[in-house]
């Protein structure tokens, strides 16, 4: 219980700090949301009316306080650029980004863990060396370029893939997969390249420990040693790393959504920043912070499930 309360306090403090930082950045950033939206043709009368209607003629700290007041009641305000409630815009975009992130995570997990085990079993053999070199390449490839290569070689040749835009799951499951698979691969490939090394090292570390020698000497098969004992014990460091992936996947979606024109949270964030759409930026930042904090919370809980010796305090 004390653990939960501490977590919640930490969460509120994190959110408050993040929103204050975002707010301060907006204060020093030049550019006026209405001017950017209306461009060079802006009619002065209209600019004044809009500023009044949106409350942008108020000093920034009052705008911020109004925003905080709204937040407490669950209202994130209206986007300036799209004249719609921020919550509605987020709700529209969430399925895209969540699907993308989940597919990415699944790909990373089903490839990186078996690959890590495979390479760990063959330590210092040729395949280990080859995979380690490929890692360097995978880490170095910029994701926007990788995305374009995938579009060019897979997207253009197989009509299964949609290379720009999104098809909702409710409309067509196949269509949604076609739209999300390539972007998910784009984020996943560099992640796999890094993460399977973690898996490999974690397993190798366990293999060196005394208990492994003991159970081996009992005559248990190598498979049982690996999957029953070693893998479970290497899960703690692996889990930590996969918890961190979430933040990286969220960051990855920002670029990849641009490349594949996916109408997700990342694309919305870029738009909202360039339009100085303060309520929308705040809303998205709050959401991302929430996701990252929440995942860390889940990871903490999973620790105690994997290793009952770890207590939540």
């Amino acid at each position: 219980m004390a653990y939960i309360i501490r977590r919640i306090i930490l969460f509120v403090v994190t959110m408050a700090t993040v929103s204050l930082i975002t707010f301060s950045v907006f204060q020093v950033m030049p550019g006026d949301p209405i001017r950017i939206m209306l461009g060079t043709e802006a009619d002065e009368t209209q600019v004044e009316t809009l500023k009044k209607q949106l409350g942008l003629d108020q000093p920034l700290h009052i705008q911020y306080m109004d925003w905080v007041k709204g937040l407490v009641t669950g209202d994130l305000g209206d986007s300036i650029r799209f004249s719609r409630p921020v919550t509605e815009l987020l709700a529209d975009r969430l399925p895209v980004t969540i699907s993308l992130a989940l597919i990415t995570l699944i790909i990373v997990v089903i490839v990186a863990i078996p690959l890590g085990i495979f390479v760990a079993k063959r330590q210092n053999k040729l395949s280990d060396v080859v995979f380690s070199s490929v890692t360097q390449l995978g880490m170095a490839v910029p994701s926007f370029w990788l995305g374009m290569l995938l579009i060019l070689y897979l997207g253009m040749n197989f009509s299964f893939f949609t290379i720009s835009g999104y098809v909702p799951w409710t409309q067509s499951v196949v269509g949604a997969l076609g739209a999300l698979l390539l972007p998910a691969l784009t984020i996943a490939i560099p992640q796999i390249a890094v993460k399977f090394r973690y898996v490999r090292n974690a397993i190798l570390e366990q293999l060196r420990l005394d208990y492994v020698r003991t159970i081996r000497s009992k005559g248990i098969t190598e498979k049982f040693v690996m999957y029953k004992h070693v893998l479970r014990n290497s899960m703690i460091p692996i889990l930590t790393v996969f918890g961190l992936i979430t933040a990286e996947v969220v960051a990855g979606t920002i670029i990849v959504e641009q490349v594949f024109s996916l109408p997700g949270i990342g694309q919305l964030l870029i738009t909202s920043i360039s339009y100085r759409d303060f309520p929308l930026v705040q809303g998205i930042v709050m959401y991302i912070t929430f996701v990252v904090v929440f995942i860390n919370f889940i990871v903490d809980i999973l620790y105690s499930v994997l290793d009952p010796r770890i207590r939540l305090n």
């Binding site: 997207g155 720009s164 269509g175």
Partner: protein, 508 residues
């Protein structure tokens, strides 16, 4: 054993994915059904769907398909009757009496009544709710609706340009019954009606069945797909995910052979300009020297691959009769002359300056690079500064804190609205800080001139002044290149940004 099962699962999953992809490629060809539907790529979202709030030219490209004003702008810059069937102007040039067309219906099925027209103008002028949405009607003394078919506007002063503020660009007629929902669920009288707007993704429009011009439109559905990245747009075109997209001239080679290409003049004026409140640009000789030094041909070739028409003043040949021909040759490249002028102005060795350009389109920094090379030849050292669009607007366009910049000024149907940027008292638009008494007088007089031929003479003289005084370096009106995978007919070219879909149809 357990491991074997896992492998089996994996193989099964792979098999499923393959099956799914195989099925979908068979079902992919539905060209026959698609014939009456078009997907048009647009760079960005509209700013507003409410026609009275929309301002950015990108919005009008789309929403003008949904709305109409009392008059409609035509492709040659003239006006044709739309919701107003005809009009009369009183002798003193102050009272306009409009006869309202009978059978015009809103998208919700209601007939356009004179009350809706009154409502439209009340809303724009803020006479009912107190907050005006436009300054275009400051000159209106009163509006009246004497009977069900007649609408009257009285002006305070005669204004020969007034009818231009009665198109859907500035006063789209919208129904009073839709108050409060004009942005979320816009209703107009245009050939297409609003279906759905998904921010960041697309805007869907469908045929307006009760459109007053029964022949139109041909298409059943129009979807504007928002895609800011040219690379992705070209790929989407190749994958047949969009039917029509603009192509930057430097990428034309990638699609030229496989797609239909059409060229469209867009009445934009690309200028390289200077802050005329600052030294040394205060001196007309310095401005003329720069004009002689810049080679328009270099820019047209380097940035637009030749797809642009050189101009010599703030007017494009797209404006027809109003355009003054010949000015584009006045400052033919002449390095010697440029150096002489600079020396006369007191800068025999040139000077250093900075050109500040926006980053939202590569075009501007590409132009700036040509300018740097051109001006180096007469001793002017130019530094390029690239800033974000929001900062460009705030600091350069509205703040006037700059030496040189380059921008394309969007076309409008009215010659007056194109040229009025240079009136010395037009604080909001005259970011050049250009000042010329004769120019100001012509622009004031032309509003009082009722005769069209005389108006044309005056507008042409105004263009000459901008050229003589070198108010900017006028580079070109660049063409918009359209690529489509099918033969499309009826795509009209307007002197402002408008993707008129009303007459578009597939010819296959």
């Amino acid at each position: 054993m357990r491991e074997n099962k896992k492998w089996l699962m994996l193989v099964l999953m792979m098999f499923c994915v393959l099956m799914i992809s195989a099925c979908s490629s068979e079902g992919g060809n539905v060209d026959g059904e698609k014939a009456q539907e078009i997907k048009v790529r647009i760079n960005d979202d509209p700013d507003f769907l409410d026609p009275h709030l929309a301002t950015a030219s990108i919005s009008y490209q789309m929403i003008l398909n949904m709305f109409e004003g009392l008059f409609a702008p035509e492709t040659d810059g003239s006006l044709s009757p739309a919701i107003a069937e005809s009009y009369e102007l009183s002798e003193d040039g102050l009272t306009y009496t409009f006869n309202i067309r009978d059978n015009v219906k809103f998208h919700n099925g209601n007939t356009v009544k004179v009350e809706d027209i009154t409502y439209t103008f009340d809303r724009l002028m803020g006479t009912k709710n107190g907050d005006p949405l436009s300054s275009n009607f400051n000159n209106v003394a009163s509006i009246e609706a004497p009977d069900t078919d007649t609408f009257v506007i009285k002006l305070k002063e005669p204004n020969s340009n007034f009818l231009y503020s009665l198109t859907a660009l500035q006063s789209a007629i919208i129904p009073a019954s839709n108050e409060g929902k004009h942005n979320d669920n816009p209703i107009g009288t245009g050939p297409f009606k609003f279906v759905k707007y998904s921010p960041g993704a697309n805007l869907e429009l469908a045929k307006h069945e009760d459109y007053w011009d029964e022949k139109l439109p041909y298409l059943d559905k129009v979807t504007f797909v928002f895609q800011s990245d040219d690379q992705s747009a070209l790929m989407a075109l190749k994958a047949k995910e969009v039917d029509l997209t603009g192509v930057p001239a430097n990428r034309l080679a990638e699609v030229e052979n496989d797609f239909n290409i059409r060229k469209q003049n867009n009445n934009s004026t690309l200028v390289v300009t200077f802050n005329q409140e600052r030294e040394p640009f205060k001196d007309v000789r310095v401005r003329q020297a720069i004009n002689y030094a810049i080679n328009k041909g270099d820019i047209i070739d380097a940035v637009f691959s030749g797809y642009a028409t050189p101009i010599g003043s703030n007017m494009s040949p797209a404006m027809g009769d109003y355009y003054k021909d010949g000015l584009q040759d006045v400052y033919a490249r002449n390095i010697e002359k440029a150096k002489e002028l600079l020396a006369e102005a007191g800068y025999p060795d040139g000077f250093s300056t900075k050109i500040s350009v926006s980053s939202h389109n590569d075009m501007y920094s590409n132009i700036a690079q040509v300018i740097v090379e051109n001006l180096r030849e007469i001793g002017i050292k130019v530094e390029i500064e690239v800033v974000e669009w929001g900062i460009w607007l705030e600091r350069i366009y509205f703040g006037r804190d700059y030496d040189m910049t380059t921008i394309d000024l969007t076309g409008r149907p009215s010659a007056y609205e194109i040229l009025n940027d240079y009136i010395s008292t037009n604080d909001s638009e005259n970011f050049f800080r250009f000042k010329n008494a004769e120019f100001d007088k012509i622009m004031a007089d032309v509003l009082k001139e009722a005769d069209r031929d005389k108006q044309i003479q005056m507008y042409q003289r105004a263009q000459e002044i901008l050229n003589e005084d070198s108010a900017s370096v006028y580079i070109a009106d660049y063409q918009v290149l359209w690529a489509s995978d099918k033969e499309i007919e009826g795509l009209k070219s307007y002197p402002f940004w408008f993707h008129d879909m009303s007459e578009v149809r597939f010819t296959e």
